[in-house]
């Protein structure tokens, strides 16, 4: 352990582990990552983990039981800075796609019946900032390795990283793709924060919105455009909230009145 280095902990709550795995998948940067800080906790990668004071806590996953909420509060109390990584942590992910909490009770019954879990008390999945203050958000499903290491380097230097304020469409243009909306395909590029490099449109497939909403997305305009193209209100709503859970729901509130 090095006194000069900052203390970092990585934690995973409910999700697919894709954000921590994106870090492990960064073979060229992985050893540097472990050398650049004291990695105090990263249970996906190592077994000598501890619950000490942290300079930076990185949290993946949504909160889906009371025990996780308590654990998250504990991490917050011993961390100077807390960063949500990935869509589940930032927005609740697909498991918080806004199907309604009454619906959740019924859906739980459908999957587990009257099961009783002695070790955990399940609740509907929510993003972590419902339970604890979050200092910075790195979105994506999963996060992009380059964007993550860009942010992490800033954190190590005590700086706050910034993301460009444009949608997937900008990155899509740079890759000289044909616009899928012009081909009447339901693409969420105009609403979705950039950072992925317009991966899906570059494969001739529509953006599914997995980076969460862009800050100043013009939801009304996209909604009206899709309606004009003949998509049903049901279809548009379903696609809007599929990946971005609570994020898009918040942004959609303005137009929900008119739906």
């Amino acid at each position: 352990m090095d006194q000069e280095k900052v203390n970092v902990g990585l934690y995973g709550f409910t999700g697919c582990n894709g954000d921590q795995l994106t870090i492990i998948h960064s073979e060229d940067s992985l050893l540097d990552f472990f050398n650049s800080a004291n990695i105090k906790s990263f249970s996906l990668a190592k077994s000598d983990n501890d619950d000490s004071e942290l300079d930076i806590a990185l949290i993946e996953g949504s909160i889906s039981n009371k025990e996780q909420a308590e654990h998250a509060k504990g991490i917050r109390e011993r961390s100077k800075m807390l960063v949500a990584i990935g869509n589940c942590s930032c927005y609740g992910g697909i498991q918080a796609m806004g199907l309604g909490s009454k619906g959740w009770d019924q859906r739980f019954l459908k999957v587990y019946g009257e099961a009783f879990f002695k070790l955990r008390s399940p609740i509907e999945s929510k993003p972590i900032d419902v339970f604890i203050p979050v200092d910075f958000y790195i979105p994506g499903c999963p996060i992009d390795a380059d964007q993550f290491f860009y942010c992490f380097a800033h954190f190590l230097l005590g700086n706050t990283p910034t993301f460009p304020d444009y949608p997937v469409c900008a990155e899509c243009r740079w890759r000289e793709n044909d616009c899928l909306l012009l081909k009447d395909i339901l693409c969420l590029g105009p609403l979705t924060a950039s950072g992925c490099g317009a991966r899906c449109p570059s494969n001739n497939l529509p953006c599914m919105g997995c980076w969460g909403p862009m800050k100043e997305a013009n939801i009304n305009a996209e909604f009206n455009l899709l309606k004009e193209k003949g998509f049903s209100v049901e279809e548009i709503k379903r696609r809007f909230r599929m990946h971005t859970g609570s994020g898009m729901m918040k942004a959609m509130k303005n137009i929900l009145g008119v739906l």
Partner: protein, 433 residues
């Protein structure tokens, strides 16, 4: 009475733990606790289009994302009356081999090996085993590259879609994959010898059943429409519920599976035990050199089985790439021929047989059921842990050794806890089929 608790269980995907209760010299209970939060994915795909549901279902797990995608595509395409052309089949084979390589190299070298060599992590092994760690990471990087090239992203790529692919990779990129696969072979063989040299404890050895997918061709394979069981039974995948019999236990948010009231094992060890005779070339030689009847009784051999499958996967890649390139024309995405239907898809995820079952009405998912490998292995895993603890208690072993041996058994199954939790479901009246 005393309790040994491991929580969280590290170096596995997802949130799990082990509780061992001991009364004097007698074991009271051993539980592999699945603590991962519930996501209710099977209910999230209901009311979605097939393409949307594939985008949701692959996110069950980041390690086996392409196996989930592949199983979903096979089930959905049966339901929609879609038959994909050969180029699509070979592209899917390549992506699936890439994932098998990625997952196995992660598990064998990064997650499991540190236990056997006495380290907390693969990173900590770097001083003494630097060369092997770097080569293992290079192999994993290559595997991730295959996943990125075929699926559009290392994790949750959307390129493999219902009816085909959005885009096909460039010829040069595929030829480079072929070249690298050949170059990686020496290290993969070295890896098998390295793992074969480890000391696998034997005190808990006992018989069990093994299940895996089998295709109609007589090859070693990772997909198929029927299941081969080690007692020589062969069952169509449509009858998967008869094989898996999911049930709920209070210490796990994943369901346990039994066949005819008995636990069974899926995964690389099941595939090699059931189909190993079909391995040819280098993987065939290694199988003949290292396989013995302890493999039928000891789950730790799953580590060696995965190391051999790494060699097998690398052997397959050159001809699969050739098969993709042989077909010059890039097929359009095949459209559904029907709006209503039902289908079961099964593939071998790196850690065992994965079933996706869909019923579609008027173009939207009406019901879905998924059965995943880790849930199928939980009963057997607990059986072996119990046997190990019994043996160690008779030898007056300390708690630390008991803890480590249980962790090694749990880890050998390569559990994928995210998967296991989100896939479970009790038998209910509306269930498919």
């Amino acid at each position: 009475m005393r309790e040994i608790v491991v929580e969280p269980l590290s170096r596995v995907e997802g949130e799990g733990g082990i509780t061992i209760q001991i009364d004097g010299k007698r074991i009271k209970d051993v539980c592999f606790n699945i603590l991962e939060g519930t996501r209710l994915i099977e209910t999230l795909v209901v009311g979605k289009t097939p393409v949307e549901s594939v985008s949701i279902a692959c996110r069950i797990c980041a390690i086996c994302t392409l196996s989930h995608r592949y199983a979903a595509l096979r089930g959905l395409e049966k339901a929609l009356g879609i038959e994909v052309p050969p180029k699509v089949h070979w592209m899917r084979t390549l992506m699936h081999l890439g994932e098998c390589l990625e997952s196995h190299s992660l598990h064998v070298y990064v997650l499991a090996l540190p236990d056997f060599l006495g380290y907390p992590s693969a990173i900590a092994m770097a001083d003494k085993y630097g060369k092997d760690v770097m080569k293992a990471l290079a192999l994993k990087k290559f595997a991730n590259h295959i996943m990125e090239v075929t699926s559009g992203r290392m994790i949750h790529g959307e390129n493999p879609t219902v009816g085909g692919f959005g885009r096909y990779p460039e010829r040069d990129v595929l030829l480079d994959i072929k070249k690298q696969a050949i170059e990686m072979m020496d290290f993969a063989i070295h890896g098998v010898n390295l793992v074969a040299g480890l000391d696998f404890p034997s005190s808990f050895e006992t018989d069990t059943l093994f299940m895996c997918c089998e295709s109609y061709e007589e090859n070693y394979c990772l997909v198929g429409d029927h299941i081969r069981i080690s007692n020589s039974e062969v069952v169509e995948i449509e009858e998967y519920k008869k094989l898996t019999n999911e049930n709920i236990v209070s210490h796990a948010t994943a369901k346990h599976c039994v066949y005819n009231g008995k636990p069974y094992t899926v995964g690389a060890i099941a595939r090699i035990n059931n189909l190993g005779e079909r391995l040819k070339n280098q993987s065939g030689k290694l199988y003949k050199k290292y396989w013995n009847d302890r493999w039928l009784k000891n789950p730790l051999f799953n580590n060696l089985a995965q190391a051999i499958e790494i060699v097998w996967a690398l052997e397959q890649i050159p001809s699969v790439v050739d098969n993709i390139l042989k077909i010059k024309e890039e097929p359009e995405i095949v459209q559904p021929t029907q709006k209503d239907g039902e289908g079961v898809g099964a593939v071998e995820a790196p850690r065992g047989t994965l079933y996706h079952h869909y019923r579609i009405r008027d173009g939207l998912i009406e019901d879905a059921n998924f059965v995943i490998p880790t849930g199928q292995n939980l009963e057997d895993c607990e059986k072996y842990m119990r046997k190990a603890v019994e043996g160690l208690l008779n030898q007056d072993t300390d708690d630390e050794t008991i803890r480590l041996q249980c962790e090694m058994i749990a880890r050998a199954y390569d559990p994928c806890i995210s998967c296991s939790t989100h896939m479970v479901k009790i038998e209910h009246k509306l269930a498919c089929g």
